[in-house]
């Protein structure tokens, strides 16, 4: 069952209260440190490769074939999951699920902790989730679980993720995959 996160059931935006902001262009955020993007990519790859039940949560912006960029990203994310030995659980619908979600196969932004608890996920990447739902989900995960969250964001990042890498487009994902392959080799995974 649940391991309550460091913020416990905090009713306020914890990261912002802690003084965390999203990184400026060209930079990434690792916990409380502003770092170069490549440093963050290496660390994210390491965390994903060494944490139990690492999982990627693709959201609607990459799940559906609505643009050429989305299709390219879908292919890359699939490859990323293979390189990182990560499971894939989609966030395909933002509406609260009635009567209850099946946490084995889906994650919902209104109660993302259920999927994380059920699958005992210790590290995850959110990608292709619209900003406001990513914000909601990441806040809940931060306060209610001990899961290391990564926001791989096409826009300006998420302060509630433990690692946030911003402006991630198809070519950046391809670069991340190459870095992850190197880290994997170094770790002998």
């Amino acid at each position: 069952m649940a391991n309550l996160g460091p913020a416990h059931y905090a009713p306020y935006p914890v990261a912002t209260y802690d003084g965390l902001l999203t990184p400026p262009e060209g930079k990434a955020m690792l916990l409380t440190d502003m770092v170069d993007e490549e440093v963050a990519m290496r660390e994210v790859a390491r965390v994903m490769l060494t944490s139990e039940n690492a999982t990627i949560f693709p959201g609607p912006q990459v799940l559906y074939a609505w643009s050429e960029e989305a299709k390219k990203k879908a292919t890359l994310i699939k490859e990323m999951s293979e390189v990182l030995n990560a499971k894939m659980i989609p966030m395909y619908d933002y509406r609260p699920k009635y009567p209850k979600i099946d946490p084995e196969v889906e994650i919902n932004p209104n109660h993302p902790n259920l999927t994380i608890w059920h699958n005992e996920i210790k590290a995850c990447i959110f990608i292709g989730v619209h900003c406001h739902y990513a914000n909601v989900a990441l806040k809940i995960v931060r306060s209610e679980t001990d899961c290391y969250t990564v926001g791989m964001c096409a826009l300006s990042g998420h302060e509630d993720a433990m690692a946030t890498i911003r402006d991630q487009h198809a070519e950046d994902l391809a670069r991340f995959i190459e870095i992850a392959k190197e880290v994997k080799q170094e770790l002998g995974k």
Binding site: Y64, A74, T75, P90, R95, Y98, P99, D102, V105
Partner: protein
């Protein structure tokens, strides 16, 4: 929505829950009405399957008809409010917007206009679906003003003649003398003339019915949607009994609806000459399109 936004990227299809994939593969999106629609209910993946409404709830049954009748489900948005209906409407695989109690027609006015500006070359259908309390009591001014302004969307009132969701208060649509759990002294004024109000306020197509015949019910819904696209506001006033608050035994729900059809929910259909002409055109072109 649009078809592009619901077709999975090929790499992800196998990760999506079975329910969703079946909706894409066997649902009504992008298919001809003659292949899906109310006549084929049960033979394809319907837009609303699970819902938490009471067993035998006639409103839940009618909501299934609404979704099966949609001419353009991939480009439809529904808007609703508090009340029993939203429990099923929000489970449909069609975007649903839920506002403050009674403001559905105000929201729909803005959304319909925004769609026309944002997607001038695409037809987006907007439908408000709410109870008698939401539509004719607390949302009354917003319902009426949307019609006066001739906003082009469809309004469907699920009339169970009571506030069902909050345990049985009388509404403006309850009949005179109605004794309900939370109106023990009996209502002391009559049922509001919703159909006449809609006609007076400028609706171009108005139907009142008890939906005992699903083809007839679907035809009215589709006509209302087609007319709202170009001509003006349309309104369907439909009897959707609350078997809980009116103590109708579940096996007798259909019988009650049949009786209502002979009484105050006898079928009535109003249309302007323009609407009549439009239906004649559409229905002669492709008879199956509407019926």
């Amino acid at each position: 929505m649009s078809l592009r936004y619901m077709t999975p990227a090929s790499k992800f299809k196998r990760y999506l829950p079975k329910d969703y994939v079946e909706l894409v593969d066997y649902g009504p999106f992008g298919r001809k009405y003659s292949e899906v629609g109310v006549k084929n209910m049960g033979a394809y993946k319907e837009l609303v399957e699970e819902h938490p409404m009471c067993s035998g709830c006639w409103m839940a049954y009618y909501i299934k008809i609404i979704f099966a009748a949609l001419p353009n489900p991939e480009d439809t948005v529904t808007i609703g409010t508090a009340g029993c209906g939203r429990l099923a409407i929000s489970q449909a695989a069609v975007p649903f917007i839920y506002g403050n109690y009674g403001d559905q027609n105000a929201m729909a006015s803005g959304i319909t206009r925004a769609f026309r500006l944002r997607f001038p070359d695409r037809q987006k259908d907007v439908i408000t679906i709410a109870g008698d309390g939401g539509m004719m009591d607390i949302g009354f001014s917003m319902t009426m003003h949307a019609w006066f302004r001739r906003e082009r969307f469809t309004t469907i009132m699920l009339d169970n003649e009571v506030y069902g969701n909050t345990g049985g208060q009388e509404s403006g649509m309850s009949v005179e003398g109605a004794v309900l759990k939370m109106s023990p002294k009996g209502k002391n004024f009559g049922k509001m003339p919703a159909m006449q109000l809609a006609i007076t306020a400028g609706c171009v197509y108005v139907v009142k019915m008890s939906p005992t015949n699903i083809n007839k019910a679907a035809k009215a819904i589709r006509r209302a949607i087609f007319a709202a696209r170009n001509l003006g506001p349309t309104f369907i006033h439909v009897y959707t009994s609350c078997n809980i608050e009116y103590s109708i035994p579940t096996p007798d729900v259909f019988k009650d609806a049949k009786e209502m059809e002979k009484g105050r929910f006898a079928f009535e259909e109003f249309m302007t000459p323009e609407a009549k002409e439009l239906f004649a055109q559409i229905e002669s072109k492709t008879k199956r399109e509407v019926s």
